[in-house]
């Protein structure tokens, strides 16, 4: 009896995994979702480490919510004026970069107003998006998929865009890694070395913005913050060097994305919320492993 139970425990997960892999092979949508998940994990695992250590999580959240403004505008102009190339993702990228620059520039100039600016961009972006969507002609837009994510809606175009954006983000981090680390540690000293600390701070915000765009499909606008913060925050509890934290964060992000896709596929659970709950639980458990 005991032997039979043990055999079942081993065979059920492996059977599920084989079934999932067969689905990946046969169903393009699942393949696209898996690819987009893995590539975006690499990106937000790395950038999330900067976001957590520089403590700019709320700026990232404001950028994420403002993305709805870009998505709404893109859908509206696409349908109203037949601008086919203006996709929701392109709108999201433009909105994310614009929000990052607005928050960054104003907060650098008026430090004491940072929280007000974050709130304004956060709410203003969502308001703009909802207004555009309200006036968009044609059939209703699936707003829920943008707010809470649905990785199974990933198209081939999304995968290509994710790979291109991921390469750009990772390339920029590789080129300017030491300067980004220095700016996050001591902006004033960077400025004193005649290196533009403002430019690198803005670059960091733009990179965070692009990551939030990549996360919209996975976890949606509302939950994306959790996925850029939690893997890196968990990794920070386990390591004390930036590059090790990045590696752990990338590993955790990939595990959350792939694992979330497998489990939600098998158990018919929504991927984004499921992944976020798992990430929260693991972050909580990390407090048991090591004291801060």
């Amino acid at each position: 009896m005991t032997e039979k139970l043990a055999t079942n425990r081993e065979t059920i997960p492996s059977a599920l995994m084989i079934e999932f892999l067969e689905t990946v092979r046969d169903v393009p949508v699942i393949r696209y979702a898996l690819l987009a998940g893995i590539v975006s994990s690499l990106t937000y695992g790395v950038v999330g480490t900067f976001v957590v250590t520089r403590r700019i999580g709320y700026i990232a959240a404001a950028i994420a919510h403002s993305i709805l403004g870009g998505i709404g505008a893109a859908i509206y102009f696409n349908r109203t004026y037949d601008i086919i190339w203006l996709t929701p993702m392109l709108g999201a990228i433009v909105a994310a970069i614009a929000s990052a620059l607005v928050i960054g520039c104003i907060s650098l100039k008026f430090k004491e107003r940072e929280d007000t600016i974050i709130s304004a961009v956060w709410a203003g972006g969502m308001g703009i998006g909802l207004l555009f969507l309200h006036h968009t002609p044609g059939k209703g837009v699936n707003l829920e998929s943008y707010l809470f994510g649905n990785i199974l809606l990933t198209s081939k175009g999304d995968v290509i865009a994710t790979c291109v954006l991921g390469l750009i983000v990772l390339g920029l981090v590789a080129l300017f890694y030491h300067k980004l680390v220095a700016v996050c540690f001591d902006e004033e000293f960077v400025q004193l070395r005649d290196v533009s600390s403002r430019a690198y701070y803005l670059l960091l915000l733009v990179l965070a913005g692009i990551c939030m765009v990549l996360l919209v499909r996975v976890a949606g606008i509302v939950l994306s913050l959790a996925l850029i913060i939690l893997p890196a925050a968990t990794a920070c509890r386990l390591a004390r060097r930036m590059w090790i934290i990045m590696l752990i964060a990338v590993g955790l992000s990939t595990m959350y994305n792939v694992g979330g896709l497998v489990v939600s596929f098998q158990l018919d659970q929504p991927t984004g919320p499921f992944v976020v709950v798992v990430a929260c639980v693991l972050y909580g458990l990390s407090f048991l492993l090591k004291k801060s």
């Binding site: 030491h178 300067k179 220095a182 001591d186 960077v190 004390r240 930036m242």
Partner: protein, 252 residues
């Protein structure tokens, strides 16, 4: 040539005048302490020298150039305690930040690493290079900050309250590290610690909106004058040590 030449300098934040008609000179190779009461303009003067703020009136030349024009030969040591102690960065990485102006893209050159390691050697922290900042005591962190400034290969070294929040034994190590640098560069030390000033400086610039140069040692009368009757830092390190004052030294 002077390391710092300041003539009729005035500066304020909005309508609040912080520095008023200040003139002084610091010769190359000289060590000078800048003291004065809180809000007297010490840190503002330091920011002006660093080129982080600019004079409203008057002129301020640093190493022969208007302040802020060329900062490559200026080393700056801020208070180590203002940094996030949990930031995940190694001692060597922090010191390498002193070579940031020589870093284009990618990694630091071998030469940069060599200079950074030499700077760590100078402050006797070579064995700590792979440790993270969070593992160090207050005094060790402050020495890392000096090493970072030395990695800039400075002709002028500016320090802002370098012994604030560090314990007494670490303070002694810190003074020892600084004393060895006096012969190689110009030192400007902003502090409340008069004993530190008397150990490391040739003279004192007392700043309280205006500035007056005094030679050392300072008399009690002068100190009272500077602090407007509030002799807030006339402490004796040895007495504090005997009394068991080991404040703020624990490893975080």
């Amino acid at each position: 040539m002077n390391a710092i030449s300041c003539t009729d300098l005035s500066f304020g934040y909005g309508k609040v005048r912080v520095i008023n008609d200040v003139s002084f000179e610091v010769e190359k190779g000289e060590s000078i302490g800048i003291i004065g009461p809180n809000g007297g303009g010490k840190s503002t003067l330091l920011k002006l020298i660093l080129g982080l703020e600019f004079p409203e009136t008057g002129t301020l030349d640093v190493l022969g150039q208007p302040a802020g024009k060329d900062r490559r030969k200026i080393g700056y040591v801020p208070q180590a305690m203002r940094f996030d102690p949990l930031y995940p960065v190694s001692v060597l990485e922090i010191v390498l930040m002193g070579r940031l102006d020589r870093l284009g893209v990618g990694s630091y050159s071998k030469e940069c690493r060599l200079v950074a390691e030499e700077a760590l050697e100078t402050v006797r922290l070579s064995d700590f290079k792979n440790r993270t900042f969070s593992e160090l005591s207050g005094g060790e962190r402050q020495r890392v900050m000096i090493a970072r400034a030395l990695a800039c290969e400075p002709e002028l070294l500016l320090m802002d309250e370098p012994t604030a929040n560090i314990d007494l034994s670490a303070e002694e190590q810190f003074i020892e590290a600084l004393a060895s640098l006096r012969k190689d560069m110009t030192l400007v030390l902003v502090t409340h610690d008069l004993e530190l000033v008397s150990e490391l400086s040739d003279s004192v610039l007392c700043v309280n909106q205006h500035a007056h140069r005094h030679s050392l040692p300072l008399s009690g009368e002068t100190i009272r004058e500077i602090y407007s009757g509030r002799r807030r830092v006339e402490h004796d390190r040895k007495t504090r040590h005997q009394q068991g004052d080991h404040s703020v030294c624990a490893h975080d």
